[in-house]
């Protein structure tokens, strides 16, 4: 009786939660999965493997905040590229500066009724397509494939909106087949709207360069300084990059939309060019990582001995930080800052709870990253929720499971030791 009384509110709450979760799109998501989502799903897995593997050193070197700061720097690099594009389009600084938007206003930019926003979004989908939509054999036919980066959750348009076949479907149901969308109207977002054809720098390249430079600086700054720690400087970089990305995106008119996606990880469709970037940079990074793994372990475990022995510690640290920076820049552009941060922290945390050796910890961390990314992505599609937070949820569940396993193992070891001492 007591049990049923105490469980009643919990069960009631769960039922309420089930009622809130919208699973009406799950069937459509599954139907369209192979056609529309499979490529992005696989790219997400690659992101999970890459960040899970590299995240091991983020945890071991106690530089967790670094990955958060670098993902913000990556976002600032993108915003800077948009801003430069806007300047290049006009040949003069932006005259009209939009007042600071409230969060709901930022989200309102996602309303598909705004044709200019469609055009901007189309540009954002592919850094070098200048707003044009290119057919891609790996994607669904033009009439049905998403022509913009579909988002889920809070920023998704309401189901049944007039543009469900248009550029911004919310979830599976939104990605229904339909007539091909009309050709995009001329951009009308203030004076900055033409930057799609005047973009002097590819945003992803500027983001990569900026993130790499900051990572190199952070690998050096703080060492040997008594009045500041590396941690405080990483915090400074984080806050400056966050503020810069917001200001630059507002100056560039269109960036707020993109930055919101980057921050919350609401993107579910990864454009083909970004998929190629993920596979290319990711494969190269993992190959270098495997080759230099023993060096990274040595300089991370005992940097003083490494320096005394004449080993190139600065070079090794620089390469490690560059690999982390490149991965974070590429993945932030593709899936957003929140899932990138989560995938560098949660998988290695779980792996280090279980393992007592580096190589098994590395493999487990990469696997947990893959499962978190894949699971989060899939659940976001089924439940019509944002992908980034769902990746965090899945990763957190795995960490909790690893903690339970570790606790049980510790108990077992303690009991065995006690029995042995009693018998002895």
């Amino acid at each position: 009786m007591m049990v049923s009384l105490s469980l009643a509110p919990v069960l009631g709450g769960l039922m309420d939660l089930a009622a809130v979760i919208d699973i009406s799109h799950a069937g459509d998501f599954l139907d369209k999965f192979n056609e529309l989502y499979l490529d992005s799903f696989l790219a997400n897995i690659m992101v999970g493997v890459l960040l899970g593997a590299l995240g091991l050193f983020v945890i071991l070197r106690r530089i967790v905040f670094l990955s958060a700061a670098l993902s913000q720097v990556s976002g600032a690099g993108l915003a800077l590229a948009f801003f430069i594009g806007a300047l290049a389009a006009h040949g003069e600084p932006i005259e009209h500066v939009r007042p600071v938007a409230r969060p709901d206003e930022v989200l309102d930019q996602h309303k598909p009724e705004d044709p200019a926003d469609k055009d901007i979004q189309r540009f954002l989908d592919d850094d070098d397509n200048n707003g044009a939509i290119k057919p891609d054999k790996r994607q669904a036919p033009m009439s049905s494939r998403p022509q913009a980066r579909p988002t889920m959750g809070a920023v998704a348009p309401a189901p049944g909106s007039p543009t469900t076949a248009g550029p911004k479907p919310g979830a599976g149901a939104a990605m229904t087949s339909g007539p091909a969308p009309p050709s995009p109207p001329p951009p009308k977002v203030g004076k900055a709207s033409h930057h799609g054809t005047h973009q002097p720098i590819r945003p992803i390249f500027l983001s990569l360069i900026l993130t790499g430079l900051v990572a190199l600086l952070l690998s050096e700054i703080g060492r040997g300084q008594r009045r500041s720690t590396q941690e405080s400087i990483v915090g400074l970089v984080f806050i400056v990059a966050s503020a810069s990305s917001i200001i630059l995106s507002q100056l560039a008119e269109k960036g707020a939309h993109e930055i919101a996606e980057l921050l919350f990880g609401t993107v579910i469709f990864i454009p083909p060019d970004q998929q190629r970037m993920i596979y290319g940079v990711g494969s190269l990074t993992l190959a270098l990582y495997a080759l230099l793994f023993k060096d990274f372990v040595f300089v991370s475990f005992d940097p003083t001995s490494a320096r005394a022995s004449g080993f190139p510690v600065r070079l090794t640290n620089g390469v490690l930080f560059l690999l982390i920076a490149a991965s974070i820049a590429i993945c932030t552009r593709a899936v957003g800052a929140m899932p990138v941060f989560a995938l560098t922290v949660l998988p290695p945390t779980a792996a280090l709870m279980i393992h007592e050796r580096m190589t098994p910890a590395l493999v487990t961390s990469a696997l947990v990253g893959a499962v978190s990314a894949a699971g989060g992505y899939f659940l976001s599609g089924l439940l019509n929720l944002s992908a980034g937070p769902m990746i965090v949820v899945v990763g957190t569940v795995i960490v909790a499971a690893a903690w339970i396993v570790r606790t049980i193992l510790n108990r077992v070891v303690a009991i065995r030791a006690r029995r042995q001492s009693e018998q002895g």
Partner: protein
């Protein structure tokens, strides 16, 4: 064979404190003790010797194999290592081979055997597969010494290797260091607070006290003496005694270096890697 030659060297942290001039010559196979009160500059001097910290002035030359990569091994204080790393004793011993192996070159089975042999020499081979963080303090120290000797170095620096050890553990570790130094002809420089240990094992002693700007170099009998108890020494009162046996510096064959001169060493890579202050 000469491995370290320090000439008119001043060590310390620019703008904070400095200690010198120091002149010393370390031969391969010799055992040096570095002693002094807390904050005397012992660790700073040890790091300056091998380029982990730049000299404020003077010169320091490495030779006789110490100038090569992996020619100097450093055994840090145990609490300087982070327990979060999931490494086994064998992993730690193999790290000693990384400098000789070089950047980006993978381990082979041969290296595994060398590391196991190094563990065997320190009596820790049976612990090879055990997590390093689960070992006792003495076992960890032995594994770190195995790592230091794995690369067959010319110089081994030890920073308080017997700190927080009981008397038996301290004796075992110091006997091991002594034996390895003699067997492999390694120059050992050991920072220690244990005067008894230094008196027993070291052939030469460096006594430092930066507050009193004193540097004395000599035999254990000259520096520590036989009638100075450790408590007296730790209060630094021994430094008030006249340096009856302090060796006179040899005539300087070269003109004194200019103030602010940096350490000159062929190992430019190490000079580029200043250690954390």
């Amino acid at each position: 064979m000469l491995v370290i030659k320090m000439e008119h060297a001043t060590v310390g942290h620019p703008g904070a404190w400095q200690l010198g001039p120091i002149d010393l010559q370390v031969e391969r196979g010799s055992f040096w003790g570095v002693v002094g009160p807390n904050g005397a500059g012992k660790t700073t001097m040890l790091r300056s010797l091998v380029g982990l910290l730049p000299l404020i002035s003077g010169q320091c030359h490495l030779s006789g194999g110490a100038e090569k990569r992996g020619g100097v091994s450093y055994v840090p204080q145990r609490d300087a290592l982070d327990d979060v790393f999931p490494v086994t004793a064998l992993n730690v011993a193999m790290m000693g081979l990384v400098p000789r192996l070089g950047f980006g070159r993978p381990f082979g089975w041969r290296h595994r055997k060398i590391a196991l042999d190094a563990l065997d020499r320190t009596g820790t081979k049976k612990l090879a597969s055990k997590p390093f963080r689960q070992l006792s303090g003495g076992e960890q120290q032995r594994v770190l010494i195995a790592r230091a000797t794995a690369s067959d170095p010319a110089v081994m620096l030890l920073d308080e290797p017997t700190a927080a050890m009981d008397v038996d553990g301290e004796r075992e570790v110091l006997d091991l260091i002594d034996a390895l130094a003699k067997e492999h002809h390694i120059a050992v420089l050991m920072v220690s607070h244990s005067l008894a240990a230094v008196r027993q094992h070291a052939e030469r002693v460096i006594l430092l006290n930066r507050e009193r700007q004193r540097v004395r170099i000599g035999t254990p009998a000259e520096i520590i003496g036989s009638d100075v108890d450790e408590q007296t020494f730790r209060t630094a009162s021994v430094l008030e005694q006249p340096a009856v046996s302090e060796p006179k510096p040899e005539p300087d064959p070269v003109p004194p270096p200019e103030t602010g001169a940096r350490r000159e060493t062929p190992r430019t890579a190490r000079a580029d890697d200043p250690e954390d202050a």
